[in-house]
Symmetry: C2
Amino acid sequence: MDVEALAENRISFDDFEEVDIRVGRIESAAPIEDSDKLARLEVDVGIETRQVVAGIKQLHDLDELPGTKVVLLANMETAELFGYESNGMVLAAGEEADLLTTHGDAEPGTKIR
Amino acid sequence: MDVEALAENRISFDDFEEVDIRVGRIESAAPIEDSDKLARLEVDVGIETRQVVAGIKQLHDLDELPGTKVVLLANMETAELFGYESNGMVLAAGEEADLLTTHGDAEPGTKIR
């Protein structure tokens, strides 16, 4: 496997506190018909449910996703994609979009540090 | 469960690219004798092995940790704690330190976005 070079810049703990990452749970997943890659997810983040557009249409079986624990960058700027607002980014590893989760039973909304 | 308020500030994708998060694998875990909370881990991040000090001594069975997949903030400023350099931060959810992982088989070094 090719591994991307590690970042040369370093960040402080305070810098990282600007990044709000949460446990989430996918409630629904639907393809965006006009897009080859994008799916529209609803993700429970504990105190609200977010609509998130994610590039996983071809990488995951959308029917299998409801109930799946994920990890969400919760304070990303919103964007509009194919007419859908995306409010957050589901975090995943690599080109296969291997979705993040936790080893244990942390509930949606739990803050990650 | 109390859920911390979601961040009001928003960040861009470019801001998030300043944060280098990787899949890692714990190679070893040892208590730091002089500390109640801290353990010293060696974490494979694909192209190197990092020594990381983590506040998980009382929250995890250190003997069980070698081989565990984790997720590492790889470009955190280094710090020295109880005489040990910490080069990165193992990400975990909540006060129980529920360690992050992936659902699939992403290998150490894989970049997370």
